[in-house]
C-alpha cells in the first residue's frame, strides 16, 4: 500500500504546476484552487489504485482536474466583460516580435485579471496549450470538444489577451 502511494506521487507530482494553473482558471481565490488541486490528486490516486493508470500523466490528471472544476464551478456566475473583447477594435502590434521584456515587466496582477476576463473555454484552452504544452488534439480530448472548437477558443483567447494588454505593453515600452 505504501509503495503504491509513493509510486503515484513520483509519477504525478511533476504535474502539479499544470494542475494548479488549471485549477486557478476555475477558481479566482487561491485557497479554492488549492482545494481543487487536492481533490484532483485524491481522485487521481483512487483511479491509480483501481489500476486505471495512464500512458501519459499530464493529459490524464489535467482531464480529472477539468472534470472536477467543471462540476464544482458549473453554476458559478460568469464575470461579464466590461467591454466585449471580440468587438473591441485594436491596432495590431507593429512587430511580429513584441518585446518579451515588456511583457515580462508587466504587472502580474494585470496579466491574471486579463486571463479572468476571458470566457472559461478560452481560458482553459490557453492553459492547456500555451501553459502546459498540450497539442490542440490533446486539449480537445481533455476538454471533450472537437479540435476545431479548441483552435477557435485558443485563437480568440490569445487575441483577447492581446487586445486587453496591448496598451499596457506599450506603456512599459515607453518608460
Amino acid at each position: 500500500m505504501r509503495e503504491d502511494h509513493e509510486e503515484f506521487l513520483r509519477a504525478t507530482m511533476g504535474a502539479m504546476e499544470l494542475v494548479y494553473n488549471l485549477a486557478r482558471k476555475f477558481a479566482d481565490r487561491q485557497e479554492d484552487a488549492e482545494d481543487l488541486v487536492q481533490e484532483t490528486y485524491l481522485a487521481a490516486y483512487r483511479a491509480w489504485r483501481d489500476e486505471r493508470r495512464p500512458r501519459r500523466v499530464e493529459p490524464w490528471i489535467a482531464t480529472i482536474c477539468l472534470n472536477l472544476g467543471r462540476s464544482r464551478y458549473r453554476n458559478r456566475l460568469r464575470r461579464p466583460s466590461e467591454v466585449s473583447i471580440e468587438e473591441r477594435e485594436v491596432q495590431a502590434p507593429r512587430s511580429a516580435d513584441p518585446e518579451r521584456a515588456a511583457v515580462a515587466a508587466m504587472d502580474r496582477q494585470a496579466l491574471y485579471e486579463a486571463m479572468w476576463r476571458l470566457p472559461d473555454g478560452q481560458r482553459v484552452a490557453i492553459t492547456l496549450v500555451d501553459l502546459a504544452g498540450f497539442s490542440t488534439a490533446e486539449a480537445a480530448r481533455a476538454m471533450r470538444t472537437p479540435r476545431g472548437t479548441v483552435l477557435s477558443r485558443l485563437h480568440r483567447g490569445r487575441r483577447g489577451l492581446a487586445v486587453l494588454l496591448w496598451d499596457d505593453v506599450r506603456e512599459v515600452e515607453e518608460r
Partner: protein, 88 residues
C-alpha cells in the same frame, strides 16, 4: 483532406491558431507563410495570436508554498483507505 489543402480555405482564425501553435506541417507552413505576404487579415491575426500566446505563457503562476506537502499528506492519509472497488 490534407491539412495544407484545407488551409486554402480562407479561415484566418483557424489558420492562425494552428500556425502560432506550431502545428502545421512543413508544407502547410510554407503555404501559409507565402499567403501571409498578401493577406492583411491573416497577418493581423497571426500578430495578435503570437502576442497573446506570449502573454499567456507569462501568466503562469507558481505553486504556492506548502501545497505540495499538503497534497502529499492527503494522499498518504487516503492510502490507508480501502480501494474503491473493495467490498467491505
Amino acid at each position: 483532406m490534407k491539412l495544407w489543402l484545407r488551409m486554402r480555405r480562407h479561415d484566418p482564425e483557424r489558420n492562425s491558431a494552428e500556425y502560432v501553435s506550431g502545428e502545421l506541417s512543413a508544407r502547410a507552413r510554407r503555404w501559409f507563410e507565402h499567403h501571409l505576404l498578401d493577406c492583411e487579415d491573416c497577418w493581423r491575426e497571426v500578430l495578435l495570436g503570437r502576442f497573446g500566446r506570449r502573454v499567456a505563457e507569462d501568466a503562469h503562476e507558481p505553486v504556492p508554498l506548502g501545497l505540495r506537502d499538503r497534497v502529499r499528506a492527503a494522499v498518504l492519509l487516503s492510502s490507508t483507505d480501502p480501494p474503491s472497488g473493495a467490498v467491505g
